[in-house]
Amino acid sequence: MNKSIAIRESLGDRLFLFLVYAFLAVVLIIVLYPLIYIVSSSFSSPRAVISGKVWLFPVEPSLAGYKAIFSNPQILTGYANSLFYTFFGVLINVSMTVMLAYPLSKSTFYGRGFIMLLLVITMMFSGGLIPYYLTVKSLGILDTRWAMLLPGALAVWQVIIARTFFQSTIPKELGEASELDGCSDFGFLWRIVLPLSKPILAVLVLMYAVGHWNAYFDALIFLKSQELFPLQIILRNILILNSIDASMMVDANQMAAMQGLRDLLKFSLIVVATLPVLALYPFVQKYFVQGIMIGSLKG
């Protein structure tokens, strides 16, 4: 009797486990397949792409799409702009975040409760798009590179993550000891706290960098000049609005070939635009996971 129950249960367990594996396999395929399809298409010939021959591996391998991308000045400018915004944006973001999070992590910092309240309120309520736009406009930075750097100089959520990290990993005694030794607050932050905070700095850099590289909304509302556009706006014009500068096409007379190249270009462009983030991916994932968990500590 006892034995038969045990067997039946383990059968049920085995069936359950099998279903779990099957479910995960399906999820894996659903997530992975579109990614493979994009990459394979981008390395195929224009003809293979438009006739729908590509379904798993590249067909008639070619680099035509990539050649078209790297001969397009618009895309290259966008790429350079995005690199610029990402680099300087992250520099500003991380400095500002540390400057706010570190003092807030000190329990002796007078007024910290009030400042935290100020921060949390901004997470729950905002003035809305129009007043935000008008504020930026009145600063006179519309259609300048500053518009891509200043309005997003700080994310409150990251401040809270950084503050939690400082609070939980920098021992209070360390601060007290260095104060007795005559170390200034600046000195302590620069020489002790920052070197001890590499993991959180990596998390901040990565989160902010991904944000800047993928950002498109600020550029949409604040920028008008083509030469300032980040890659994402160029992508939108080409991929979604379907407007491609005719001059970039190698042979404008051949309509069919042009159409094919245009479709192929989209796949290659997706790969090229996502590459910088995905190249960092294994590294990024590890720290991102860490970042999400630190953030979740404090809910």
Binding site: L28, V31, Y102, K106, L129, Y216, F217, L235, M293
Partner: protein
């Protein structure tokens, strides 16, 4: 008591170079002036880019003229709001916004939980790692690229979805042009992109479940499924409730960027939501006050939802945001 008094007196003598009036906060602030210096710039940022717009939200009650600024324009009371409530778009916008966000909540909220529970069951670390890495990857795809992928995949001419449809012997379907498909495309693609990222917190919560509970369950002869129901799910409840509260607080803010990019003239009847409307009327149409009113209405509803769900969660469970 006495000894602290003595200490205090000693301290006072030691600090005699400083003015005697500086006590408590002021003294602390002076000693840590560098910290206050540090905080100045970020604080200025918060005030300029967060609080001035909040102050500027009053243009919702004014007839805003760019020359006169936030406070110089004439008061019109609730006129902008009543204009919005009476406009023929009002109910359509509310309906579209609610359908998309409730649908997102119903499908998007449990999906990462299910993934995390499933990943927690399997013993093969290699497979677990592969699934986790792959499902996490789409999180890094930008919204523009994501929407382009959706359009490419669903396009009646080249997408693989169309290939499948035709293989099944059906006619090509112009998915992006059919209004009733919009919310499903939006929500399911969101799940595709966010499921791995969302599962991380739940996996962390599951890793924190006391292993003695599993041993006790084993002794009691519980099946795997029973363990999931009785140990795992209660184990991730606190995290789930907090995330649920945060999600509900965002109900009316369905992703502007993605919806705006996914819109086309054929699907606007179901894809126009409050945030896209605010953008179009306000920034493209330069109708500042009216669209600020729409936005403010939206923010207030969100705030009310957040506060009430939090209140409710605190009443029925131990977890709440505050």
């Amino acid at each position: 008591m006495q000894s602290t008094g003595v200490l205090e007196a000693k301290k006072k003598r030691a600090d005699s170079s400083k003015p005697l009036l500086m006590k408590g906060p002021a003294k602390k602030m002076k000693r840590h002036w560098q910290l206050y210096l540090l905080i100045l710039l970020p604080l200025a940022y918060i005030i300029i880019f967060k609080y001035i717009p909040m102050y500027g939200a009053q243009i919702a009650f004014r007839d805003f003229s760019p020359v006169r600024g936030f406070t110089g324009s004439e008061w019109v009371g609730l006129k902008n709001f009543s204009d919005f409530f009476n406009s023929p778009n009002f109910w359509i916008l509310i309906k579209n916004t609610l359908i998309i966000s409730l649908y997102s909540l119903a499908v998007g909220f449990p999906a990462p939980i299910i993934l995390a529970l499933a990943l927690n069951e399997i013993r093969s670390m290699r497979f677990k790692k592969v699934v986790q890495m792959v499902t996490f990857a789409p999180y890094f795809i930008s919204t523009v690229v994501m929407v382009s992928m959706i359009i490419l995949f669903l396009s009646p001419r080249l997408g693989f979805v169309d290939l499948i449809v035709r293989m099944l012997g059906m006619e090509s379907i112009n998915f992006m042009g059919i209004p009733s498909y919009f919310s499903s495309i939006f929500v399911l693609s969101n799940v595709w992109q966010g499921i791995g990222y969302g599962a991380v917190i739940y996996l962390a919560a599951l890793a924190g479940v006391n292993s003695e509970l599993y041993e006790a369950a084993k002794v009691d002869g519980a099946s795997r499924f029973q363990k999931v129901i009785n140990i795992d799910i209660p184990g991730i409840m606190p995290a789930a409730i907090i995330l649920l509260i945060l999600n509900v607080g965002q109900i009316m803010n369905v992703g502007f960027e993605k919806i705006y990019l996914m819109q086309n003239p054929l699907n606007t009847s179901t894809s126009e939501v409050i945030s896209t409307y605010v953008y179009k009327i306000g920034l493209l149409g330069a109708n500042f006050s009216f669209s600020a009113a729409v936005d403010l209405f939206n923010s207030v509803i969100n705030l009310i939802l957040l506060l009430s769900v939090n209140y409710f969660a605190r009443r029925v469970s131990d977890s709440s945001l505050w």
